[in-house]
């Protein structure tokens, strides 16, 4: 059975599901609208300030100028991945609550193929997010950048594949939670609280083993894609790719999918 066929099986399940269209529609709409309209928002902000007699020079904040635009868009869009994560949880836990995972296996899918179909959907959703951000980045960058050179356009685009990795990492995590917990509500709560739980743990070990913190999953994402805002407060930010952080995120992503496989392989359905 080809990978494409497996992907089509999972998409067939999802495309008949209204919740999928609503959640994904909301996600891509929000992603598109917020990332494309940031500049208009700034202009509106500037006009409002002017009405109050103060001046806000929006050209001093080159949010949408090449090359700043890439990290800005990627970092902000990364916040929205939680919506896709919830969708993935629903897609996985539905298979358990409807027991359709059992019937899929009975019908002749192997457990590995079942998992592969879910992973492929995760990859597709990540790829679509990447494509949308790339297009919006290019278009808005071309519109708003005062200086356009090829060099400036491609500077920092090395963060685009990392954005794909970030989303795929998170969807893999959501899928794994769904497979381990099986129940939608609980899984979503754990998913939403993950960052908080991790923060509690890391702040406690901060004094003892601070070097360990970078290996935590959510922290590794933050390390891989740096928060870009400080550069507008005249601070340096890292605008190059840190290979260690990428390796850590990739390792976690692999581990999530592998754990899903092990759990699925062992469980009675």
């Amino acid at each position: 059975m080809t990978l494409l066929h497996l992907l089509r099986i999972d998409l067939r399940k999802l495309t008949g599901y209204r919740t999928f269209w609503v959640v994904c529609g909301l996600y891509f709409l929000t992603l598109g609208l917020t990332s494309a309209s940031g500049m208009e928002f700034l202009k509106w902000l500037a006009r409002t300030f002017e009405d109050f007699g103060s001046k806000l020079n929006i050209n001093r904040i080159p949010l949408y100028h090449f090359p700043d635009i890439w990290l800005n868009l990627i970092w902000c869009s990364g916040l929205l991945k939680i919506v896709l994560g919830v969708m993935v949880v629903i897609s996985v836990t539905n298979e358990y609550s409807y027991r359709t995972i059992r019937q899929n296996i009975i019908d002749g899918l192997s457990r590995r193929q079942f998992l592969a179909s879910k992973i492929l959907t995760n990859a597709l959703l990540s790829l679509l997010s990447l494509a949308l951000i790339t297009v919006i980045g290019l278009v808005t960058g071309l519109i708003y950048s005062p200086v356009i050179t090829f060099d400036r356009i491609i500077t920092d685009t090395e963060f685009l594949p990392l954005y794909f990795l970030e989303v795929f990492f998170f969807l893999s995590y959501a899928m794994m939670l769904g497979i381990l917990i099986n129940r939608a509500g609980l899984t979503i709560i754990v998913l939403l609280l993950s960052r908080v739980i991790e923060a509690v743990i890391t702040s406690n070990i901060d004094d003892h083993v601070p070097w360990l913190i970078q290996y935590f999953p959510m922290q590794s994402i933050a390390n891989m894609i740096p928060f870009p805002a400080p550069r507008y407060a005249f601070q340096e930010i890292r605008d190059w790719v840190d290979p260690l952080s990428v390796a850590i995120v990739a390792a976690w992503t692999f581990l999530f999918n592998w754990l899903s496989y092990v759990k699925l392989k062992r469980s009675d359905l």
Partner: protein, 300 residues
């Protein structure tokens, strides 16, 4: 005869509970194999292991002489326990999805829908189906991939009497095509009508396995009545009598081996009694099933 299914020492434990204990069985091509047993005796668990959804604790099984893989499952049509479908998809979409998984042609869909008389409702969401319609869709789905083996766990659950009769004739028709069928059911009448072989499980143990024809063998039971007051006392003196019960207003005479109903008839006639009712009853599966269970009461 060719082995379709060979089970060797299959065991499943759920914690301390042993759901299936050291089960060994073979099913040959063309058999309609009935799996009987009280609730919780391990029928569904056994079928679940055979279909790869429950990992056996020990033992093994072979389909068509081979180690089981997901490829072989595509050639088996199976419905375990109750129908399972995506509630938000229509019946047809569910079958299309299943055809993709089984890699079966979608051109089969109208045929199987027709078979279970769901044509006309196939574009309604599965969620909106009645219990019997869900069961019918499940049977349709089992037939989708032109299976060589059919596994049905309580297939007539929730069907109306007409539906039950239809499923019965469907099973007989499929069996006459040379397909092998494994059927778990509590409807012993149905099992007796369609099955060629049967096995009885109790608390996970196999306590009987053999052809259905055997059921009719053994002691004969004759139902009699006559217009005399002390028929039962009279019958007590009959040398061929092994047991005597009163049931449905008739006396049920269980004969000793080698005695036939005509011996009883002659006996009555010689005593000057004319029977107004004398029927030989084939022992049915239900009686035999209960007997098998009872004789194993002490041992388990």
């Amino acid at each position: 005869m060719e082995n379709v299914l060979t089970i060797r020492n299959l065991t499943k434990r759920f914690g301390r509970l042993c759901a299936v204990n050291n089960l060994s069985l073979t099913v040959d091509r063309g058999q309609v194999f009935g799996m009987l047993g009280p609730n919780g005796s391990g029928k569904t668990t056994t079928l679940g292991m055979l279909m790869g959804v429950i990992n056996p604790t020990a033992g093994e099984y072979l389909w068509l002489g081979e180690k089981p893989t997901h490829h072989i499952r595509k050639k088996i049509g199976a419905v375990l326990e109750h129908p399972i479908f995506y509630p938000y998809l229509t019946g047809r979409q569910n079958l299309e999805l299943m055809a993709m998984i089984k890699q079966a042609p979608t051109s089969n869909i109208p045929r199987v829908l027709d078979l279970v008389e769901l044509t006309g409702r196939e574009n309604d969401k599965y969620r909106t189906y009645s219990l019997g319609m869900k069961q019918r869709l499940a049977i349709a789905s089992a037939m989708l991939g032109d299976p060589v083996i059919l596994i049905l766990d309580e297939p007539t659950n929730g069907l109306d009497p007409m539906g039950i009769a239809e499923i019965r004739s469907l099973i007989q028709k499929i069996a006459s095509d040379g397909k092998t069928i494994i059927l778990a059911s509590h409807l012993l009448d149905e099992v007796q009508k369609v099955c060629t072989h049967f096995a009885v499980l109790k608390k996970g143990n196999l306590i009987h396995s053999g052809p259905i024809d055997d059921v009719g063998k053994g002691a004969e039971v004759v139902e009699v009545s006559a217009d005399v007051a002390d028929l039962d006392r009279l019958l007590d003196t009959f040398t061929g009598l092994s047991a005597l019960h009163r049931q449905n207003g008739y006396l049920q005479v269980t004969l000793k081996d080698g005695f036939k109903s005509k011996d009883l008839n002659r006996f009555l006639f010689e005593k000057g009694v004319v029977a107004s009712h004398l029927v030989t009853k084939k022992k049915n599966l239900e009686q035999q099933f209960l007997e098998i269970l009872n004789t194993h009461d002490e041992s388990l």
